[in-house]
Assembly symmetry: C2
């Protein structure tokens, strides 16, 4: 019997996580991974801190470099190799070696697509000018950090108030660069309800970020191939640095061309074992759709946590250990200066889109206990189903120590707990950490009266 071959497309968290897990379970499997960039298994979410100068070297963001995969895991990692075609009928992929353009076919017994997500780049003249960045691979983060270091930009404009926009705004302010953030929506962070997003907007303003909402990108002014200004539908903003964070999409073009069925937002459709609907083709990470654990509906959530989990699960199933991925809650956390921001489950808009009836409350408490030195405000927002009281989602904005409280809500959502369950829950308390009723429970107590 000849060796079975697993081919992995994509060398970041999902792909290499699957490869490493598969190796652990099956020492005989031949594993070949292709990555079009230079790095493997890097912490993409660390790029803002590289730009901020909080992380000294891009190497600090690489979890496992290619040579370690080769030597310790016996995984044949080929960087700067791009898979340009999948041929499921012949069970092979077409690979291009980027160094010299040499192309070849590689056969597989099993194929894992872990091509991630790519930033959406608006089709506007001048978007390729020098000084305009999107964040994609680690290389793009290094390029931005280098640009900031070398050219010392004075005026930055960030387009888009999502996680990348917020974290980059914080990073640039730490660099004392004059920073403006524009967003077409009437709030930052569409994953939050408007009332919570406005608290985040306050935190941005407090950091010295000039914020323009309801304002669309129209074009760029350039000079000698370099960006000089951002033109919006309201004004012209001088800029020698522009960061585009207007959204991402699953990098599913290869799958689409190969006839592998896609789902929501063109993310690759997979079952809980991370199998696509095409035999012997698997997918994991940011290129796939997930099931939302509260709504039961397919969603596109591209986050490192999910990529790591689904990579691991693909690796297990690929080597005969049946494991199902139960789905996501869209849990996320970030910070803007001292203000921590977190969310999980469904927000109001998602409930409305799903036609789900909901009650919602928002409370303000302190963390730690109000009398303790350094106490600051924490705002907790909770959503639940009227009648049953089943929790639907939660959002938190507040000072140091606030954000990670989202995890107790996430655990509650995982188990389908109710508002009453949350009120009764034995959460931890001591004055340096919390009021005697954790703010999450204070919100639950208020919500209980609305059920």
């Amino acid at each position: 019997m000849t060796k079975r071959t697993l081919v992995v497309i994509g060398g970041d968290a999902a792909g290499m996580g699957a490869a490493a897990q598969a190796r652990r379970n099956d020492p005989e499997l031949e594993i070949i991974a292709y990555e079009r960039g230079e790095h493997t298994s890097y912490i993409a979410c660390g790029m803002p801190y590289l730009v901020a100068g909080l992380v000294a070297s891009p190497d600090d963001l690489v979890v496992v470099p290619p040579h370690v995969f080769r030597e310790r895991y016996e995984i044949q990692v080929h960087t700067r190799h791009e898979v340009v075609e999948i041929d499921p009928s012949e069970k092979r992929v077409r690979v291009e070696r980027l160094a010299d353009g040499h192309a070849f076919w590689q056969s597989y017994d099993e194929l894992l697509i872990a091509t991630g997500a790519v930033p959406i780049i608006p089709e506007i003249e001048g978007v390729t000018a020098e000084g305009i960045f999107t964040l994609k691979s680690l290389a793009s983060g290094v390029a931005l950090a280098t640009f900031v270091e070398v050219t010392q930009p004075q005026q930055a404009v960030i387009v888009g108030g999502g996680y990348i926009g917020l974290e980059m705004a914080e990073a640039l302010r730490l660099r004392e660069i004059e920073t403006t953030l524009i967003d077409l929506a009437r709030q930052v962070m569409l994953t939050l309800d408007e009332e919570m997003a406005s608290l985040v907007a306050d935190a941005l303003t407090k950091m010295g970020v000039q914020l323009y909402l309801n304002e669309g990108l129209v074009g760029f002014e350039t000079q000698g191939g370099r960006v000089r200004a951002v033109v919006t539908d309201q004004r012209t903003l001088p800029a020698d640095l522009v960061i585009l964070g207007v959204g991402i999409r699953p990098n599913s073009d290869l799958a689409l061309a190969a006839g592998i069925p896609l789902g929501v937002h063109n993310a690759i459709r997979v079952n809980p074992q991370m199998q696509t609907e095409t035999p012997h083709v698997w997918a994991a990470g940011d290129c796939t759709e997930s099931i939302h654990r509260v709504s039961g509906q397919p969603v596109f959530v591209a986050l490192g946590t999910v990529a790591n989990k689904t990579g691991r699960i693909a690796g297990l199933n690929l080597t005969g250990v049946p494991t199902a991925f139960p789905g996501v809650l869209g849990t996320a956390i970030t910070k803007v200066g001292e203000t921590e921001v977190a969310r999980t489950g469904l927000n109001s808009q998602e409930c409305e889109e799903l036609g789900l009836d909901y009650v919602v409350t928002q409370i303000t408490a302190t963390t730690p206990a109000g009398f303790y030195p350094g106490a600051s405000n924490i705002h907790v927002r909770l959503l639940a189903e009227p009648g049953t009281g089943r929790l639907l989602g939660g959002q938190i904005v507040g000072g140091p120590g606030s954000g990670k409280r989202i995890d107790s809500i996430a655990a509650s959502l995982t188990a389908g707990l109710t508002v009453q369950d949350l009120v009764d829950m034995d959460l931890s308390y001591a004055p340096p950490f919390s009021p005697v009723w954790d703010p999450v429970q204070t919100a639950a107590r208020v919500l209980l009266r609305q059920l």
Copy 2:
């Protein structure tokens, strides 16, 4: 029809929480509360921070003073009044006005006992000497803080390495007082497994606390009625301040004398509605026993969180709103300098005493992400049932941001989740907060292999 009368014994969290909740539901009820001290509804857990000088005034620790209960809630609060006898057959209590010794009978339709817990005071000669303190009421905390402020003690000995001992050690070190802590056990914090407790011991040592374990209190040396030294079975420790934190017991003497059935550790036995086995007599807070949600067994857990919850539930049931208290997990949190300590559920010793088979693991990770500035170690210990994988308990010791993670474990225990559920859980991640796998999940992943 005459007014119904609720008499409450004890003016702290459970008693006044019940009274306030009862008032909200029933504007007609006559509510009379007796408190032998001067304060109502104070934050007992805040006393170490008063002693440390982190809290300016004892008033900051009073949540609701008596006059507010009288005016806003129409609750007849009588401070400095001690209930000295319960007569359930006649439905009345004997009350002594401490100011002048005047005693009288007060009738009730319903009685709530919320007498709290009292520190265990070793019966050793000299224990009443000046300079030796136990912490009980807010007044005792004020007395200690005043003593520290006025006499400026140089050498303190703390007897007992539980929560009070630890927090007082931290407080005294913040005051730069030379501090020694002795404990008869071979570890501090018996609520933790020994491996975790030794990390707490390290934190104490790092704060400059001299720690003597396996060492018993034998006596005191006094001079002119003031403490001069603590004598242990190993040595004599000069001391001008001694804090006794050797444990607490439910203050159930009144109940016992009245024939109201007691349970574990002589805590008053109550059903989930907070009714004792004596008609029309209820009990809540630190004087009662609770059901442990993991073991299903009655336990004595005296914590502010539980007192607040059970007080609220007693108030609801007293006014015809049926509500059951589902029990406790023994969740607790504290800190020693920068080191945060938290626990929930069952520890190894508790599992052994219950005859429960368990697997256990302990991992070390970082919080925030390892590459992020200021990252420090976090140690997570998890216990689970072999076979089913049901989580049994968790413990955390680590740097800033570690402790409150216990709440995701507490929520998991509440719902009876398994190790696999915890691995799959969508917890929050961003580099300033966490590695991509939250340390709690890293522990779960390791434990999964042991099931």
